[in-house]
Structure formats: structure tokens, C-alpha cells
């Protein structure tokens, strides 16, 4: 097996993608407002990423085959002169990743239980300064809130590498009154069913 540290750091680029699709009948669904004219399909597709294989085969054809030098001598591999896609986005390589649950909030700090997401291990507890939390996330700091804590390297697209720590609180929709009422109703039914007094 490859050693864990090597495992987590030897990639150069990493993507995570969720791809959800549904049937076309959704066009009449509430999330689409009625609209007089449809945008031509080719216009829509011009904004949407092509499937990875199409992207890479086109790019590869242009980059590798059109840019490949002639064989210098029989039996020698062609030397590809691939044009690299220049990265213009900063990268963050996580060396360690935790999920935290806030257990106590103090004046300028909070205490959290930490679960290691990199290598499952024992739960730990740590105290964080509120200053570590971004302004928009500060309102989410309350007992029971979940956050993700990453430490690693921030690599700018020019190649500058700096150590970094990042905390981001989980954002899920607020429970609505009807959802809370429905949950209460289900709990009551269950309570009645098991005859719990």
C-alpha cells in the first residue's frame, strides 16, 4: 500500500462532482417558471461543460496528435508536445480533515468534538477561537452545529505554497414549521404505538 501522506498529497488536481438528472417532464414543474420561448439547444449546450471524455479527446487530439513531433529514429516513441491547460485557480491540498460538532460556546471561543475524516480514529475535543470563523459563519456557531476543519497547503496558481487552516460551518436548510409539525406528529404516533407514558 502507498503510504498515507504520499497518498493524500501526490495528486496535482482533484475534482469532486455531483451530477443529478431527471426526466424532461420537470419542465412543467414548479422550479421552472413558464417562459415564452425556449433557448435553442445548441445555445444551452454552449454554456454547459461537455462530458469529460469529449473534452479530453478533443483536447488530446489537438494537444498530443497535432503537436507530436516526427519520429527521430525507427522504434522511438513519438515525443508529445502537449499544451498544458493553465490552472488559474488556487488549490487547497488537505493533509488532515475533521468534522467538528460544537459542544459549548464561550465568549470568544467554542469547544468542539472532532471526528477525524482522514483516518477514522478516536474522537478528540478542541477549543477554537471565534476569530478562526469567517464573519458569515459566526451566526452558525451554536451547540450542535457541525463544521469542517481542514489543515493543509494552499497553493496559488502561480505555485506559491502556504500552510493553511480552514473552518467552514455546515449549511443546511432551516427546518420549516410544517416540517417540525410533521415530525412532532410522527413522534406522537410512535409514542402512542409503543404506549409510552
Amino acid at each position: 500500500m502507498i503510504n498515507t501522506m504520499l497518498k493524500r498529497t501526490n495528486y496535482k488536481w482533484k475534482d469532486m462532482q455531483f451530477d443529478l438528472s431527471w426526466s424532461e417532464q420537470v419542465s412543467s414543474h414548479e422550479l421552472i417558471r413558464p417562459f415564452k420561448g425556449d433557448l435553442p439547444k445548441q445555445n444551452i449546450m454552449s454554456y454547459v461543460s461537455q462530458p469529460a471524455s469529449e473534452v479530453s479527446s478533443c483536447a488530446l487530439y489537438e494537444n498530443v496528435y497535432l503537436g507530436t513531433g516526427a519520429l527521430e529514429e525507427p522504434g522511438k516513441e513519438p515525443i508529445p508536445t502537449v499544451k498544458q491547460t493553465i490552472a488559474t485557480q488556487n488549490q487547497f491540498i488537505s493533509l488532515q480533515k475533521w468534522q467538528g460538532i460544537v459542544v459549548e460556546v464561550k465568549k470568544d471561543a467554542f469547544i468542539a468534538k472532532l471526528i477525524d475524516l482522514t483516518e477514522r480514529g478516536v474522537e478528540e475535543e478542541a477549543e477554537f477561537s471565534i476569530e478562526e470563523v469567517s464573519d458569515d459563519d459566526k451566526e452558525l456557531v451554536m451547540p450542535g452545529s457541525v463544521f469542517y476543519w481542514n489543515i493543509g497547503h494552499q497553493i496559488s496558481y502561480q505555485g506559491q505554497q502556504t500552510r493553511a487552516s480552514m473552518i467552514r460551518f455546515r449549511r443546511l436548510p432551516v427546518w420549516r414549521k410544517e416540517e417540525i409539525d410533521a415530525a412532532k406528529s410522527r413522534a406522537q404516533k410512535l409514542r402512542d404505538f409503543i404506549n409510552w407514558k
Binding site: K12, L39, V55, E77
Partner: protein
């Protein structure tokens, strides 16, 4: 279309400042494309694609998808892909070519093509059970692994794992709930397995 940075911020799914700073390519009833510092979103009438290249945001990305479709639970989702891909730098071109030969040996092509090289290879893992395609975890769907030369790094390898899930319940309102349950329950396992597949394969290809 409902999917706009302001809507995501109003529902508390992204920060207000992120919505304000979003780079919008297009917002139209047929297509929405915008990006934040950590997120790229593409939505058409039949498809929702959310992507990040920033590792600390893998979990927030999952939460964004769960949050979005908890609110829009009547969307008749039929299928979901959880895709993980990585680009690796290979030490030298010799090793890079050797990795291609291991995946697709040259012998069958000798005498047919003058100069051949691997552009893309996809392998699928699935099982047929009771007339449906089932994953190794018993859920409906399959796992696909794709290997290609990297277009980002030279000489480099691109490896992608596509965890594909399909809803068993085909009634319009049930698909979303089923797929979101699959996402909540299978996320961690599929995330870790994807990584194991990628690194195990890489190790064999570069040995």
C-alpha cells in the same frame, strides 16, 4: 429558473458574500451557469451538476446538494453520479507510455495501426440481479473507472471514478427522496472507495 446565487443564499445554503461575489455566466429559464470561489454549478431543465476542485469543500458540496433537494424534494430525480477525479504527474514519458501499454497492450493493434496510443479507457463494475444492473453495494447502478492521459499535466494521468446510482422507485415524487437517502448513506463509502480505486490503480500502473 429558481437556481440562482441569491436563492441559495436566501435559503442559507451558501454565504451571502459568496452569492454577491458569484461569477454568473448565464441565468435563463433553460440554463443557469455560475461559479463561486469553490463551486461550479450548471443546471439545465433535466440536469444539475455541482463541482468543486477544492478538497476542503467536498463535504460542503455534498451538503449543498442535500440542502438543495431537501427544499426541492418533488424534483423527479432518476439518477445521480458521484464523480471523483484526479490528475497525477508521472515521473517521465517512459513511465507514462508504459501505463498506457498496461491498460491497452499494443499487440492487438500491431500491423493495423502505425502509431497507436491510449486516449481513453472505461471499465464498468456491475452485476445483473433480477433484471437490473446492481452495484457491489447492492444499490441500483454501477461504478465506472476512466483512465486518460491528463490534459492538465504533462506527462500525467487522469483517473476518474463515477459512482452511478439510479432510483428504484420510478414514481415522480419518490425519486428525489430515494436518491438523497442514497447520497446521505453512501457518500462516505463511495468517497473512500473512489480514492482506494484511484490510488490502487495508480500504484499498479506506475510500478
Amino acid at each position: 429558473m429558481i437556481f440562482q446565487p441569491a436563492w441559495f443564499a436566501a435559503e442559507g445554503l451558501i454565504k451571502k458574500i459568496e452569492a454577491e461575489k458569484a461569477t454568473v455566466q448565464i441565468i435563463h429559464p433553460d440554463v443557469v451557469v455560475f461559479s463561486l470561489e469553490w463551486l461550479q454549478l450548471e443546471i439545465t431543465k433535466e440536469r444539475f451538476v455541482a463541482r468543486t476542485s477544492q478538497e476542503p469543500y467536498d463535504e460542503p458540496l455534498r451538503d449543498l446538494v442535500i440542502g438543495t433537494f431537501s427544499l426541492l424534494r418533488h424534483t423527479p430525480i432518476r439518477q445521480m453520479g458521484i464523480n471523483r477525479s484526479m490528475h497525477f504527474l508521472v515521473d517521465n514519458e517512459e513511465k507514462w507510455h508504459a501505463a498506457g501499454y498496461k491498460l491497452a497492450p499494443k499487440e492487438p493493434w500491431e500491423g493495423i495501426l502505425k502509431r497507436s496510443g491510449l486516449i481513453s479507457l472505461t471499465i464498468q463494475e456491475d452485476e445483473r440481479k433480477d433484471g437490473e444492473v446492481v452495484r457491489s453495494d447492492g444499490l441500483k447502478g454501477f461504478t465506472r473507472v476512466k483512465v486518460e492521459p491528463s490534459v492538465k499535466i504533462l506527462p500525467g494521468l487522469f483517473i476518474e471514478v463515477n459512482n452511478h446510482f439510479e432510483a428504484r422507485d420510478t414514481s415522480p415524487s419518490a425519486g428525489c427522496v430515494e436518491i438523497m437517502t442514497v447520497l446521505k448513506q453512501s457518500w462516505e463509502a463511495s468517497y473512500k472507495r473512489s480514492e482506494e480505486i484511484i490510488y490502487s490503480l495508480l500504484e499498479r500502473l506506475l510500478k
